[in-house]
């Protein structure tokens, strides 16, 4: 049987098709990896911000408990993706990430001295929104959209609904994260 011979034009076209499929697949894979974390933090925000608005006295303890739950859930998610491999590394890496985030906010608050609960509540979502938008430059446009939407919703609540900002951030900001998580699961 004679070997198939193709023209440079057809070869270029085949390479283009392959590159497009690779790009789409890699992007869908990254979105799929990110989706459960968005969903998790959406739920944490609904409970955390919503609870802080309804029971401001226990807000500190509530967030402490939620962070512990988020840490445990993040380890479980990472383990599920790793198919049970490198368990200890996953635990340490996830815990170190949480400590780094906590240290960042503790240091920033110590330096900037936010004077109101409103400022304290608005700062983390803005940092998260910024992180999503920047990560989106490498991951794909959906993360940029999620970041921009989160920042816009946070700023909207901060300036136009200050008396119910925490409730707003919980249900609208947290709800947006949950929706983004569902959206990321779709190819």
């Amino acid at each position: 049987m004679e070997p198939t011979v193709i023209s440079p034009l057809k070869a270029a076209d085949a390479l283009k098709q392959a590159a497009a499929a690779e790009k789409r697949s890699a992007q869908a894979y990254r979105y799929q990896r990110f989706a459960p974390y968005l969903f998790l933090w959406g739920v944490i925000w609904v409970i955390g911000y919503g609870g802080s608005d309804l029971r401001p006295r226990i807000a500190g303890w509530l967030w402490l408990g939620l962070v512990v739950v988020a840490l445990a859930a993040s380890i479980l998610i990472a383990r599920a993706f790793a198919d049970g491999r490198a368990d200890a590394r996953i635990r340490w890496r996830t815990a170190a990430f949480f400590v780094a985030v906590w240290a960042f906010f503790a240091a920033t608050y110590a330096v900037m001295h936010p004077t109101t609960a409103l400022q304290q509540g608005a700062f983390p979502p803005l940092v998260v929104a910024f992180a999503y938008a920047v990560l989106g430059l490498w991951t794909g446009p959906r993360l940029i959209i999620a970041g921009v939407a989160l920042a816009a919703l946070t700023l909207g609540g901060f300036f136009y609904l200050p008396q119910h900002f925490l409730l707003w951030e919980g249900f609208v900001g947290g709800g947006a994260l949950i929706l983004a998580g569902l959206w990321f699961r779709r190819v």
Binding site: A12, L15, A20, K23, R24, S25, A28, Y29
Partner: protein, 98 residues
């Protein structure tokens, strides 16, 4: 310069191989996602996956997730190498080496 791999050189199979190549080694892709990426019908995709499986390029795993049947596909070592050779062959056609 080798020969063109006729198993890969078909639009849907090429997309399947490229989509699987984009994943880390041993990572599987669900049939449903693969169908969207390859832009193929269910029957068409199934037939092409079978061709690739017979060539030893992909491995298919069927199980149940949330009480639903699930089919996952991954690239084998042989498949990864074949795809790399295929891409190298095409690049050589476009810009022949010395």
């Amino acid at each position: 310069m080798g020969e063109l791999d006729a198993v890969i050189h078909q639009p849907v199979r090429l997309k399947i191989m490229a989509a699987l190549k984009a994943l880390p080694p041993n990572e599987q892709l669900e049939f449903v996602r693969l169908r969207k990426i390859a832009d193929a019908t269910e029957g068409n995709l199934g037939a092409h996956i079978q061709t690739l499986e017979q060539a030893g390029y992909v491995a298919v795993e069927k199980d149940f997730a949330d009480n639903r049947p699930r089919t996952r596909v991954k690239l084998t070592k042989q498949g990864r190498r074949a795809f790399e050779d295929y891409v190298a062959y095409l690049r050589d056609i476009i810009a022949p080496g010395p």
